[in-house]
Symmetry: none
């Protein structure tokens, strides 16, 4: 018996709810998707609870779950993932946050002066200006006691804050209120923090950093020039998404699969790096969205020669949902479906592989937010018992044969169809969770 290779295609935010302007259909129902429908017809379908039922996932925690890493245990916080995605080295045990350079104004309140957020992105300050501002801030932050503080510019208003030291905790609230005209929040320990003392200590450090940033940036030359030009001053940094970087067992070791990730955006590349996948990008041939999807699928077919597991991330459907544009979402889905012919022809019909298509979460194109509805899932394997579902959409798969399963179980389900699962209770000759381990540890006589 030969083991099979696995292709996992995640169409970000593709699943949705009933959309009024589409006559109560979902974008996936409304779209013409002959190739995905074919996969559903010859495969088996269901819905996938990415986290606990009803909980809207972030894309980072969702992908961890899809790769079989329970976010409750392994989610290191968005900051850590973004740092990894931006190729910023962060040592284990360090705190990492994302931050924005933002614009705030002072407001007197009882007890002192608070800061009101006027522009969360400081008018999308240029990368060049941001780099200089952050450099000045770094010099001041070098004076911190006990901990080493690093502020690293990313693109435009975005940056990564890293705090290195002992006794830090990621269980703290955001300074960023996420809304303009709200006040900059005191960073505080979460009441359910694993280590409340550590969280209190960390929150105080963050508050000091935020106050320092305002003190240094408000009178900075660059901001004076910006204000003269009528632009909002980038006069504070607002951290969010704190997390402690932890090492996890790599994907290859956990599942016994040599794995490749095809993704463009930093977040997804960050998750893949976190679990030790090889990360690939595909330069867009013509720059159109359509070509990009086709190129990704072609790359997947190519990488499948070398890898056991190829993960393809496709973004478009989620972006259209956040923009509240259901019809654009429909078009993006049709583009994905059209490109998916490449997988059907080169993998499904030709080879002996397992192919799964799903979303990392549902995104409502009416509400513009991630929702907790379980996304549609279709799995194909040459010998899978297919159900009666003939269409790949949220409503059709409600009658799917896979039922309602948890994302954290998906890898085991795929490994099973790939004939790579080790029978429960059987001890491998070498420790490995795959069916046939090629590793060898010879007894020396």
């Amino acid at each position: 018996m030969d083991v099979r290779k696995i292709v996992l295609i995640v169409c970000d935010g593709m699943s949705d709810r009933a959309v009024k302007s589409l006559g109560g259909r979902t974008p996936l129902e409304y779209a013409e998707t002959p190739n995905l429908d074919k996969l559903a017809e010859i495969g088996c379908t269901g819905v996938l609870d990415i986290l606990n039922p009803g909980v809207p996932p972030g894309s980072d925690s969702a992908h961890l779950a899809l790769f079989g890493y329970d976010p409750e245990r392994y989610y290191p916080g968005r900051g850590a993932i973004e740092a990894l995605g931006a190729n910023i080295p962060v040592s284990e045990g360090s705190l990492a946050c994302r931050f924005n350079l933002s614009t705030v104004a002072e407001k007197n309140i009882s007890g002192g002066v608070s800061l009101i957020v006027k522009d969360r992105r400081a008018g999308r300050v240029s990368s060049e200006e941001a780099e200089k501002l952050i450099k000045s801030l770094q010099i001041e932050l070098n004076n911190f006691n006990n901990v080493k503080v690093k502020v690293i510019p990313n693109v435009e208003h975005r940056g990564i804050l890293v705090v290195e030291g002992d006794g830090l905790s990621g269980d703290i609230t955001d300074s960023d209120p996420h809304e303009v005209e709200s006040c900059v929040n005191r960073c505080e320990p979460l009441s359910n923090a694993h280590d409340f003392k550590a969280a209190e200590y960390t929150a105080e450090i963050i508050n000091e950093i935020v106050k320092t940033s305002y003190r240094i940036l408000k009178n900075h030359e660059i901001n004076k020039l910006r204000v003269e030009k009528g632009l909002p001053a980038a006069n504070i940094i607002l951290p969010r998404g704190a997390g402690i970087v932890r090492r996890v067992e790599p994907f290859t070791k956990v599942w016994g699969l040599k794995a490749a990730c095809i993704a463009k955006l930093a977040l997804y590349r960050g998750v893949a790096r976190y679990i030790g996948m090889d990360v690939y990008d595909v330069p867009e041939a013509t720059g159109t969205v359509n070509t990009n999807v086709e190129a990704k699928f072609r790359k997947a077919v190519e990488l499948l020669k070398e890898y056991d597991f190829v993960f393809v991330h496709i973004k478009g459907a989620d972006s259209a949902s956040h923009d509240k544009k259901p019809l654009e979402k429909v078009k993006m889905i049709e583009r994905i479906d059209s490109a998916f012919k490449i997988i059907m022809e080169n993998v499904v019909y030709e080879g002996d592989a397992v192919v799964a298509v799903t979303s990392d979460h549902s995104t409502s194109s009416e509400l513009g937010i991630h929702i907790g509805d379980p996304p549609a899932l279709a799995v194909y394997a040459p010998d899978i018992v297919s159900d009666n579902v003939k269409h790949f959409n949220e409503r059709a798969v409600l009658n799917g044969g896979l039922g309602r399963v948890k994302a954290v179980d998906l890898m085991r389900i795929l490994l099973n169809y790939a004939c790579r699962s080790l029978e429960y209770g059987l001890k491998p000759s070498r420790e490995s969770r795959i069916y046939r381990s090629t590793e060898c540890s010879p007894l020396v006589i």
Copy 2:
């Protein structure tokens, strides 16, 4: 984006099994329920495992699960719930039991004299007599060392026993054998008690209280008079359902919802009080069951203006099941359905709310007991992806799109459809699990 309000309607014991006298149909299948069927048609359906699959819930643990409090962690015991329901103040850490005033007779056994239960309710002794008997007992129980013992009459033969002191445990067996002609049991620690020593200590206290009650009550004036009249003497108290009262995080804080409970019976009001809901009753207009259900639904519509979450408890179907009267159950279900028109017209069709209907457990109207079959569930939201189920009954919802979900996940599912969930991994700027927190904790510079 606006958040939605939530109505949760729990029809106690409505779900059932196939009933022979109804031609193998369930009461819910047999009944004419056009309004509930409509909800199933435009909503999404499934079945709800209240506890672990197959475990028959009590109504108290079931409601805790429905409100998102895992009973394994938060169930304080029936006694505590009943005390809260009867508005009897019980301090945290105290032991609370229900008890009956019962009739026992002595029986010689090897090693001494045991007590045989002759009437578990002492001929439903009047509230007046019970109050006097319990008062006499209280005077004697004031002499206990180390702990403070309170016996509080409830209605007729019913009462609440409260023990205040240190080192108590609720992990003890019932003195009440629950059957006549059985002997009054020695209260004993459960073998799987969290703290076996504490359970042993508590059990000894309960045994002393029971013995004291027999000593005081057997010769009481009131009982002498009762025996003269040929009535059974209320000559002992038999505790059951011990539990330690613990404080839990209130519902409003856990789910970010201002919540109201509409329920008549003490048990349900007790659960609601335990988790800090505002509790309402509806005086019956004419006293008929029908009017009562309509009045409850009307009250729900009214409270929905002020509250984010309104829970309505409707009892009738469970009582008919315990009485083993399937046809009466059918009639009760039809009454509920008819009254449910009020919710359809005023909430489902008019507003922008989430409506869920289910049972706290299934009750067999042939067997007369709670069963572990997962009850039917229907959920409606304006943009929900409906399944193909067009009827609300146990058989139809087996093909439901929600599949088989756990009661403890229901609140998250409802919050999701109410657009109130916080995306996983997002740190709230202020601690709150709802999507939009208006709270602010300004950083002072």
